[in-house]
Subunit: 360 residues, 2 copies
């Protein structure tokens, strides 16, 4: 049993351990806000630094404390911003907020700089093209390929996910998140570090399920946006949400995830906010396509990465590899990459054989 003083020191130590956030995108920014906000039980103001690969963007953010990627957000005063690779060395927690298709490059570049006991927390959602790896798998693989010493312990890996449209977190609106790790202690560390007055964090053990749910929901959200672009209404979009959830469950179970995960906050919760929030990036992309925009034009004029676009390719591959039927994902692929008209793609979904309902 520890004395009160020892407990207090342990908690204080964890709260003050330096954190580095890799990536200056929306999720990186709101993580900086979450990590420096007043926690329910302890004072805020931990040692948080953001790292970006683009020196100009780093300078602009450090100077203005604002980013064009999330205009309403103001970077808290205590948060530093750097482009210096050496700055990652002291961080005991590395928040990986780099878009999934660029994650391997960033981790590989910094691999020799990380603290040997650093805990990596992915807050990005997607599946890597080609390798079909999930974010925590990309991190582990990139560290290994960069020659992480076999004498070191395996890197600590966790994922933080949930219904977290960044624009709402930027306004400190209440949210719930899931901290998942195969090691329960690491999930609890992420929980105690990220929870604050407006974000509630639950722990979870199913890393595969949480990461798959976060990735595939972006694809379903594109389909939901197409529904919005076609002005199909909330009934149709909600039926699509339910059928999309069934696709996520089928793929997840084929890949060894627990179906419970998909019915929780990181599953149906994240899917719901992604399909309904007007500020969701993937939904907004789908809506533009539903209204007749061309994908290349839309992406060219959007400052943020639309993760669901690249992820659609990976999920179609995964569904083939695991022999899982995913008609909505397939329809999104058709709209994005095969020149299929959104109206026809949605029409095809509606016209599929009507029969008994099947979830898994």
């Amino acid at each position: 049993m520890s004395s009160p003083t020892t407990s207090w020191r342990a908690g204080d130590h964890e709260a003050a351990a330096p954190v580095i956030i890799l990536g200056l995108g929306q999720m990186g920014l709101v993580c900086a806000g979450m990590l420096t906000a007043e926690a329910p039980a302890s004072p805020g103001g931990s040692d948080v630094l953001m790292w970006g690969h683009n020196p100009e963007e780093v300078r602009a953010l450090a100077h203005t404390r604002h980013s064009p990627r999330l205009p309403e957000f103001k970077l808290p005063a205590g948060v530093g911003v750097t482009a210096d690779d050496a700055a990652v060395a002291s961080a005991r927690i590395v928040v990986v907020a780099v878009p999934v298709q660029f994650m391997r490059e960033a981790i590989g570049r910094l691999a020799h700089r990380f603290h040997p006991e650093a805990l990596f927390v992915s807050v990005s959602k997607g599946i890597e093209n080609g390798t079909l790896l999930r974010p925590t798998q990309i991190i582990a693989d990139a560290l290994t390929k960069a020659g992480r010493s076999p004498d070191l312990p395996a890197p600590g890996l966790a994922v933080l996910s949930g219904p977290t449209i960044a624009a709402e977190l930027a306004r400190c609106l209440p949210a719930a998140m899931i901290a998942a790790s195969e090691e329960a202690e690491l999930a609890r560390r992420v929980q105690s570090r990220f929870r604050n007055a407006y974000v509630r964090v639950y722990t979870h053990a199913d890393v595969t399920g949480v990461e798959l749910a976060g990735a595939v929901k972006n694809v379903i959200a594109i389909a939901a946006g197409v529904c919005d672009g076609l002005k199909a209404g909330h009934n149709a979009k909600s039926a699509l949400l339910a059928r999309g959830l069934a696709e996520i469950v089928r793929l997840g179970e084929a890949m060894g995830a627990s179906r419970e995960t998909f019915f929780g906050v990181a599953g149906v919760g994240d899917l719901a906010t992604s399909c309904f929030s007007p500020e969701g990036r993937n939904r907004s992309c789908g809506e533009a396509l539903g209204r007749g925009a061309k994908l290349a034009d839309y992406l060219a004029r959007t400052p943020s990465v639309v993760e669901g676009v690249a992820t659609t390719k990976s999920v179609v591959e995964l569904s083939r590899r695991h022999g899982v039927d995913m008609p909505i994902v397939q329809a999104v692929h058709g709209v994005l990459f095969e020149g299929i008209d959104p109206v026809r793609a949605i029409g095809r979904l509606m016209a599929r054989d009507v029969g008994g309902e099947r979830v898994g």
Copy 2:
């Protein structure tokens, strides 16, 4: 094996069998629209009659073809409207669109008039106060109590449910529904009768699950509306949706329903549209309360029944009876009937112990 001619006659017979709709509310009206719309495979224009207990309302609807309950809807030319109890006698399908707390009275009054082989299709969502019965159970119980002859076969019972905000169905926007019956043949009859160019109908066997999902989602939608009234955002509402779904699953499993049902169109699909559609009656009621309205004032100025209000009482009773923890439903009960401030009720939900996530 039947000849093509016989098949055609059988289909034609089913399509032309007289239907009566009990109740002139939103769902009754849109059912009249659905049943007379062009079907994908067969011409529309079946024999559809609406019955209402209030002669003045019947006359107004018959004359104007419009109802103040659903202003944008125009009653199709072929649909009759009557207050004559004897008119129900020829109907082979009885669509029960009476609010749940008035269903027993309507069925009891008409019990001796129904065709002995009539199929009853409930499209209402709720749980009866006091008895805690679901709609199809109320129908069966009311028929028995009215002295339905034991020489007759048991009445055919089915439920038609799903994400169907009435205002959207009135505009013929696309939707998906679930036709559930313990007898597969009856579910298929409802499916073939209701499906049309804009509504897709799936069959299902879990009547308990479909009816419970439809009832409890109205309570969760009130909580979602409170979130909206407090301007808590889509992230918080989506987390609430996920936690609410978990409550529905726990109660449903304790009552013998299949958990699969809750993850389908009639479960999470209906929950999503009810929590997010601005036109949902239960969500709108919650939003008004979240903004500070008094329940009695709100109900007095609303032309339609807000089913979730009475249902909240029944669901709290069911949760006690089955020993199931339902904190969101309990919070809604507090707001509706115990004078608890909505901000405090939602705050309490947020402050519950944080730990591992649990779905069922």
